[in-house]
Symmetry: C2
């Protein structure tokens, strides 16, 4: 990779400043960073010897930040559809995980997921699963940015057998991954119904000490909320508030069950909400009040959840679903306009992960994490507004190029340095194993 | 095209019988029809001299039937987003139509739309727009099946200036298109709020005489319903019932506002409901009670509406949205399982159009309207259930081949005999014209 390079596009969509579209503009990348953004004609004269990558019918924008997934579960894609959450977890997913999850499953599942994410324009993902060390190393190898969850649960799994063990292993992973340039960590207590108060208090302490986010499923279903009230007299969000966990570190995933007061609380406490519309729809969990949260000033970002309850890791599709759903949830066709949906998929995820100084928008000084989308397609012409086109019409196959830290990871729709045939063969083999088991 | 040919696939999904998946099966096509369906190994020995098209990692299934669109409006794609229905119609769409719609607009818009539909697996579409004769001729030329609406409205438009004129021109078009093998007609009164009682009675009469469906927007928004009650004391559906229009010819589009009694009425009267989830979401119109309608025994099919309120004509994406939405609308994760969503996009559309003897499923004697989808992709492996994969994970770029009446219209993702660059250039020119106006 040359030390300096130019990417020239029909449209540059920086995301910040908001609602800007820069026509016929170029980004100048030096080492890992964006060092200039200017009209392409000016770039050619200002940097005459710098090689130019021409993307003349494309929009270039920040890479997507998938703020919630369980990457390795791609091997469970389509294995158990059309069942509600607790049935799905108790009778399908948890038994399959108990049987299959180990180093090999993790490696194969994570590689498949990262390949899919890179090809569909995701440059950073926030994972919650067993063996976060495995996830971290594969992410670094494959060139995608990742935040891995140091998971905590009350009960034993393949990863650890007690809260103490979860913390011990988690802190170990946190130390191990310091040397990986594109990897961060989060404290990841699974959910209010799987983690009791004492470990949650420790989570708060460690998150503060290590200065990392907290990544947790919260208020995913009405049953979760009513069970909590029955058991402890309070809703899970109130319980988390009492434990001091509602602060800007908190990334609360799903949040489909929110009262007006809780929405105000989210905004006041500065938590981030991670919206996963396709998962919420597929599991009939509910509809997150995204427009209301944004209007109250809360940070709302976007995630796909796992490929077993979606059933893909496609952030472009997720963005479209979010933009469409929010309008009917709010009963207002002006809710969550395209530019705001794009913010959710980019800068808001960066804010949630406390990386907004480094990624999430195309600005001088930020890391060159970006993608090109070709709008010269039958389904995305004519173009009146490229942001609208991206959110409401484009499909993942139109994503042609992906750069992470200025290194091209997808070129002309092909993964660089990844043997896709090999990945597909491995996936097929897992499919046969899990089918015959 | 050879008189007889074989298509051999990894999976054949016939749709009827329902919930069947035939692994490693072949279809034998002779002239326009399916003449045999059998295991591929048997096909090779039974028809040794017949050329075989191998699709070894693909599912082959009936082509999608887009049961409601306004094809030419593709030229308005993305022109006016994030506004509610009546504002969108009154302040954006109707003025633009008044300014631009004519023969040139129709030809260019319809060609663009049909190209997009063919590439994304639609083999039959049901249109409602001005100049249905233009739509019919282009559809026949481009090799897609179409039903064109003989539109009726109270007020003048580019097509006609009074109900009498609408009927006169419509009947003329009906006669003209008899000679077009792949084209049918419908009577298409726009909506309850744009067509008064007298023309609606004539619609009923003509539909019976000509033996064609009735294609109408019904109960699209709560405002439509409350306005009707304010003006006439009855909801639009009740008014249509009084006029004798609720019968098996009726294709009622949208139907987002339905009581339990109205759902029972739909099933009892044998009407078809055309569900357009992405349009309903985008315009914040409401949520059609799809699962309740199906449970009551009503026929529910699927449409994209126009590219100006979607914003694409992608039936695969529409099917996914329908399958996801229905679960949260019904608050039941088992609602609208994948196989049923596929029926909505295929056989149910054929039933609605009264073509179920000819299209909508892969059966011996039916027309060879079919598509191949390649599931050997990073985002659709491993495969446990190909129908689930198609509905919940696949994306339109995985549609590799499309046949209508046994003639291949898309081969290896390329339109046959269509100059796509020319279409794109024409679309771009229209984009510039409409932008500077």
């Amino acid at each position: 990779m040359p030390a300096k390079s130019i990417i020239a596009a029909r449209w540059v969509i920086p995301v910040q400043p908001r609602q800007h579209v820069l026509e016929n503009h170029a980004l100048v990348i030096e080492n890992v960073r964006i060092v200039d953004i200017l009209p392409t004609s000016d770039a050619r004269s200002k940097y005459p010897d710098t090689p130019v990558t021409e993307r003349p019918t494309h929009a270039v924008l920040p890479g997507f930040i998938n703020a919630h997934t369980h990457a390795a579960m791609s091997l469970f894609r389509g294995m158990a559809d059309d069942v509600p959450l607790m049935d799905w977890l108790n009778n399908h997913i948890w038994p399959a995980e108990a049987k299959w999850v180990g180093q090999e499953f993790m490696r194969d599942g994570v590689e498949l997921a990262i390949a899919e994410m890179l090809l569909s324009g995701t440059t950073c993902f926030n994972d919650m699963y067993f063996f976060p060390n495995v996830v971290a190393n594969i992410a670094q190898e494959m060139g995608i940015r990742a935040h891995v969850g140091l998971i905590v649960m009350d009960f034993p799994t393949a990863w650890a057998d007690s809260p103490e063990a979860y913390f011990d292993k988690g802190l170990h992973v946190h130390d191990e991954v310091r040397s990986l340039s594109r990897v961060g960590t989060t404290l990841a207590p699974h959910a209010p119904y799987t983690v009791s108060d004492a470990p949650l208090e420790q989570v708060r302490t460690y998150a503060d000490e290590l200065n990392i986010p907290i990544h947790m499923h919260v208020h995913e279903t009405s049953t979760e909320v009513s069970d909590s009230v029955a058991q402890s007299g309070v809703r899970p969000l109130a319980r988390l508030n009492q434990l001091g966990l509602l602060n800007p570190r908190m990334m609360a995933v799903h949040m489909t069950q929110l009262t007006d007061e809780e929405i105000t609380l989210c905004a006041e406490q500065g938590i981030s909400v991670v919206h996963c519309p396709e998962s919420n729809l597929k599991l009939a969990s509910g509809q997150c009040r995204v427009a209301d949260l944004l209007a109250a000033g809360a940070n709302v970002c976007l995630g796909t959840d796992s490929a077993a309850s979606n059933n893909d890791l496609d952030m472009l599709g997720e963005m479209q679903t979010a933009a469409l759903m929010a309008k009917v949830t709010a009963q207002n066709a002006q809710a969550l306009p395209a530019w705001q949906a794009l913010e959710m998929a980019t800068i808001n995820g960066a804010i949630a992960l406390n990386c907004q100084d480094d990624i999430g928008s195309l600005e001088i000084g930020k890391s060159a994490d970006l993608i090109a989308i070709d709008l010269d397609h039958i389904s995305t012409q004519p173009v009146y507004d490229p942001v609208s086109q991206i959110v409401y019409s484009a499909s993942r196959e139109q994503i042609t190029d992906v750069w992470v830290e200025g290194i091209q990871r997808v070129k002309y729709k092909q993964l660089v340095n990844v043997d896709v045939d090999d990945l597909l063969q491995t996936a097929r083999r897992w499919g046969e194993r899990l089918t015959t088991s």
